[in-house]
């Protein structure tokens, strides 16, 4: 996808090559903006501001790594973007839906319908099958109540779930119980759950944090490859600087509630990183 964007910018490809994504307002770069914040602020209690004016704009198809020290507000930012927490000020625009405090019910449904989430861990229903957990990804779409178990889910959903499972190489585990899988496998199931309804935006909060170095790398590679393949915009947080640089097109660093650094991954220096985490 990024190569396509590159070509569009240099005028080699007609605009409509990427318009199938059609994500709203055009930026100067020519690619549609899928997610934007302006002066986004957030405090949980008045005394301690967490986000102090975030201006961020992400283009469709970009893969963005969000870094920053513990407590710098990464998870908070992700939650504010999709209306899990109410914002305290500023505006958020996600896929044409613009809101200030919280998205209204219709906006929230639409945003969540085309967004996938992967969390650090513990996010599968342990006593359910792998397939059921992936089918859960279809909840929130039309006629959703049948998605709580694969046994009663519509056939199309089961097929989509199985396909998503094969993309993460776990189709042979479909009927295993989720808690019978290793941490890395569980995280791959979570990715399949996020992918099953073909989201336009994928948000992942430290997806590799509870995994060993090898599984962590596998999971990040999988993310990166699938997002590229399906043209999905990826926004992930990580404390692993190698992951942050290698699996993204752009690195955004938070420091004390503000954006401290925002540049293409290739241009991020060790010095940048050091300053980000300096006390």
């Amino acid at each position: 996808m990024p190569d396509l964007l590159e070509d569009t910018r240099s005028g080699l490809l007609p605009e409509n090559v990427i318009t199938p994504l059609r994500q709203g307002e055009e930026t100067t770069n020519g690619a549609a903006t899928i997610l934007a914040t302006s002066d986004l602020r957030k405090y949980y209690d008045r005394a301690t501001p967490v986000l102090q004016g975030i201006d961020l704009s992400i283009r469709a198809g970009e893969r963005v790594a969000l870094i920053g020290s513990n407590g710098s507000g990464k998870s908070t930012l992700l939650k504010c973007l999709i209306g899990i927490h109410p914002n305290s000020g500023g505006r958020v625009t996600v896929m044409d839906h613009s809101f200030s405090r919280l998205p209204d019910a219709g906006q929230r449904r639409n945003i969540r319908r085309s967004t996938g989430f992967v969390f650090q861990k513990h996010c599968l229903v342990r006593r359910r099958t792998v397939l059921s957990n992936v089918v859960h990804g279809m909840l929130g779409t039309e006629g959703s109540w049948r998605g709580f178990s694969q046994a009663i889910a519509p056939e199309a959903w089961r097929l989509a779930a199985l396909e998503a499972l094969s993309e993460v190489n776990l189709e042979s585990f479909a009927l295993r119980r989720a808690d019978a899988l290793s941490g890395g496998q569980q995280q791959r199931v979570a990715i399949a759950r996020a992918l099953v309804r073909r989201p336009r935006l994928l948000i992942a909060d430290e997806p590799a944090a509870s995994l060993d170095p090898v599984s962590g790398r596998d999971v990040m590679e999988l993310f990166s490859r699938l997002c590229k393949q399906h043209g999905i915009t990826l926004l992930f947080t990580s404390h692993d600087m190698a992951h942050a640089r290698e699996f993204s097109d752009r690195v955004v660093a938070l420091r004390q509630g503000r954006i401290f650094l925002d540049r293409p991954s290739a241009d991020v220096t060790d010095r940048d990183l050091q300053e980000t985490f300096d006390a």
Partner: protein, 267 residues
């Protein structure tokens, strides 16, 4: 510097305030004075022995007349029916009740406390009192007994179901909610599967409890084998009474065995 250490040393009797002491003395006095009026005196105990011996004498041997045994058998079946139907309906009702009462999960928000208070009311009124109420409203017999067991089971399971749901794994629930799943989907997709072992365990206890109380409900005319026991005592048919007590013993034993086996097979 021993002095410095002394001041840092926590007191041996910290937390034992004068108020605590006064309360302890008052409680002791209350127990002693109550003992005088209600506890059996040694003389009463000694005088009671011959009465007890003669009662046991009149109870033996238990009545094994086939016609009587058949009547008892039917009553035992009725007792099990009351317990089974009452517990099953009660458990089914407890699922929504527990959901409505569970903190952080109930769609009522703060109103969940009202549901919890209602469940507590069902639980704190003793089953025999419920049985009296239902006998007064629907009349003598098994129906009053079944209704009593239902209410009793909701009082018991409603509370423990709510707690099991409150204790269920929060992360998958948040993950599903972020996906956009409805409350119902989260309930069936994440909360119930996670709480299932605990729910089943509680239900088995409820069944055990139901059998135990269905045995005595008959004492106030709410059906089951207790009714026979009351008749036997009222008419001084002690040989019948001893047979019935034996039967009750067997019922409870069988029930505990069965639920233990079920629980073990669930692990």
């Amino acid at each position: 510097m021993p002095e410095a250490r002394d001041t840092l040393m926590p007191g041996r009797w910290s937390g034992f305030s004068p108020v605590t002491f006064i309360l302890l003395v008052a409680a002791g006095g209350l127990i002693l004075s109550s003992m005088q009026s209600v506890a059996p005196s040694p003389k009463q105990l000694v005088d009671g022995v011959p009465g007890m011996v003669s009662l046991v004498d009149r109870m033996l041997p238990p009545n094994t007349d086939p016609a009587f045994l058949k009547r008892i058998g039917l009553r035992i079946v009725e007792t099990f029916q009351i317990a089974l139907v009452g517990a099953a309906v009660g458990v089914l009702l407890s699922l929504p009740v527990g959901w409505l009462a569970a903190r952080g999960i109930t769609p009522f928000g703060r109103g969940g406390y009202l549901v919890k208070a209602f469940v507590s009311l069902l639980r704190t009124v003793p089953d025999l009192v419920w049985a009296l109420l239902f006998v007064a409203t629907v009349g003598l017999g098994a129906v009053a007994g079944t209704m009593t067991i239902i209410v009793d089971t909701v009082g018991f399971c409603g509370r423990f179901f709510a707690e099991a749901m409150e204790d269920s794994d929060k992360e998958p629930q948040e993950a599903l909610s972020a996906i956009g799943a409805s409350r119902m989907s989260i309930l069936f997709g994440a909360i119930l599967p996670d709480a299932a072992p605990s729910l089943i365990n509680t239900s088995l206890f409820a069944l055990e409890k139901a059998v135990r109380s269905s045995v005595v409900l008959g004492l106030v005319g709410a059906g089951g084998i207790g009714q026979e026991l009351k008749v036997a005592f009222d008419l001084f048919q002690y040989k019948n009474a001893s047979m019935i007590i034996l039967a009750i013993f067997v019922i409870v034993l069988v029930m505990e065995y069965v639920t233990d086996r079920l629980r073990a097979s669930l692990q």
